[in-house]
């Protein structure tokens, strides 16, 4: 596997090949987070969840074209995980503090998605769509791929074709949702 990922390389790698980027991040920083969580009232399952959520936070930020790291990758990951774990601990005890082992920065670690009944209805409705519709909607709205990229990945003739298909799938999803609600 390749050498250590640099701060300059990470945002681009997340956009172009997020699986490869995550492999490197797991390789280089997972044990650090596991150690931190274990020394702060957590277990290995907690560490796995926290690291996973941090990766999702990182991926969400990376899809903004302006995203760059203002600190080292290590500090970034430690800071996000620290925030996420502190939030978890404070659900149990508002006064809790954590033992730190690395320097950290104040990096927001808000959960990206709402978690309510309506949103859950949408995720259920997504499962009822065909795989093609599910994929095109996820590529466009979650992975923030453009129509050219989607057309190439899904084998559409051109970007306009992909755009039309995306529109149809969105309408199909909305119809399923409003039918469920009716």
């Amino acid at each position: 596997m390749s050498a250590n990922l640099t701060e300059a390389e990470l945002p681009q790698m997340l956009r172009n090949d997020y699986r490869a980027a995550f492999k490197l991040l797991y390789r280089d920083y997972y044990r650090m987070v596991e150690y931190f969580v274990s020394k702060n009232s957590g277990n290995s399952a907690d560490a796995e969840d926290i690291f996973q959520e941090a990766m999702i936070v990182l991926y969400n930020y990376s899809r903004e074209s302006s995203f760059t790291l203002s600190c080292s990758i290590k500090t970034y990951i430690y800071s996000v995980c620290r925030n996420l774990w502190l939030k978890q601990l404070r659900k149990r005890d508002r006064q809790v503090t954590v033992k730190d082992f690395e320097t950290f920065e104040s990096i927001g670690a808000e959960e990206y998605t709402e978690d309510n009944e309506q949103v859950n209805l949408v995720t259920n409705a997504m499962q009822q769509l065909g795989e093609g519709c599910r994929k095109i909607l996820t590529l466009f709205y979650y992975h923030k791929k453009n129509m050219e990229e989607i057309a190439a990945e899904m084998g559409y003739t051109n970007a306009d074709n992909a755009k039309n298909q995306k529109y149809k799938c969105l309408q199909h999803l909305k119809t399923k949702l409003t039918t469920t609600n009716a």
């Binding site: 492999k23 797991y26 390789r27 044990r31 998605t113 949408v122 995720t123 409705a125 997504m126």
Partner: protein, 199 residues
């Protein structure tokens, strides 16, 4: 039912693409048109649902990635915890090398290969303590080195030097000989020295 232009306006609103004028138009519609407002709320919910679906898929992928990388994850030592931790790791690092060396010695004993190089190699493998001795190689020999858990062979040339740490073992190995001493270390061979200092 909204027309296509209004649908596009809503889509572009959530994508953050509206100009100031378009944003104003959007706000006016939101206040004046109940159907438009309902569609905006529906779009908001749908987009949140797609985000959640995407994140759930990502979590599944991350689980697979973690399982795949389990054996490659780098160990973590917190800053300032080097002392005993490092000594502990060095000890066991040396121990694992010693185990590999022992396995190699057993192999060589069971399947002896008659060559000066292997003989020299055999004589050179030993354990460690902190006493530093220096030897100079006089003949070309082949040296077995261990790098993590892979064994490489490395040719050691006359004039090379190597450091050994065990006086007792060194004396035993070099007794009555002027042979070179070959050091088995965790990383690449430094130098091989000829026996000058052992009494």
């Amino acid at each position: 039912m909204l027309n296509e232009e209004q649908q596009q306006l809503i889509e572009r609103f959530f994508a953050g693409e509206l100009s100031a004028a378009e944003l104003q138009q959007f706000k006016e519609l939101l206040g004046a048109d109940a159907a438009f407002k309902a569609e905006v709320e529906l779009q908001r919910t749908v987009l949140s649902g797609i985000q959640k679906h995407g994140a759930n898929q990502m979590r599944d992928e991350l689980k697979q990635i973690k399982a795949e990388m389990q054996g490659q994850m780098q160990q973590y030592t917190p800053p300032g915890k080097g002392g005993w931790g490092k000594a502990f790791k060095w000890f066991f690092g040396v121990g694992s090398i010693a185990a590999l060396v022992s396995a190699l010695l057993i192999y060589l004993d069971k399947f002896p290969v008659k060559s000066p190089a292997i003989e020299n190699l055999y004589r050179g493998l030993h354990s460690y303590d902190t006493t530093l001795q220096q030897f100079t190689i006089t003949d070309t020999i082949y040296h077995v080195d261990t790098v993590y858990h892979t064994i490489h062979t490395k040719k050691v040339l006359p004039g090379d030097t190597i450091t050994t740490y065990n006086v007792k073992e060194t004396r035993r190995i070099l007794q009555g000989t002027t042979d070179t001493l070959v050091e088995v270390k965790r990383d690449t061979v430094r130098k091989v020295y000829r026996n000058r200092n052992i009494q």
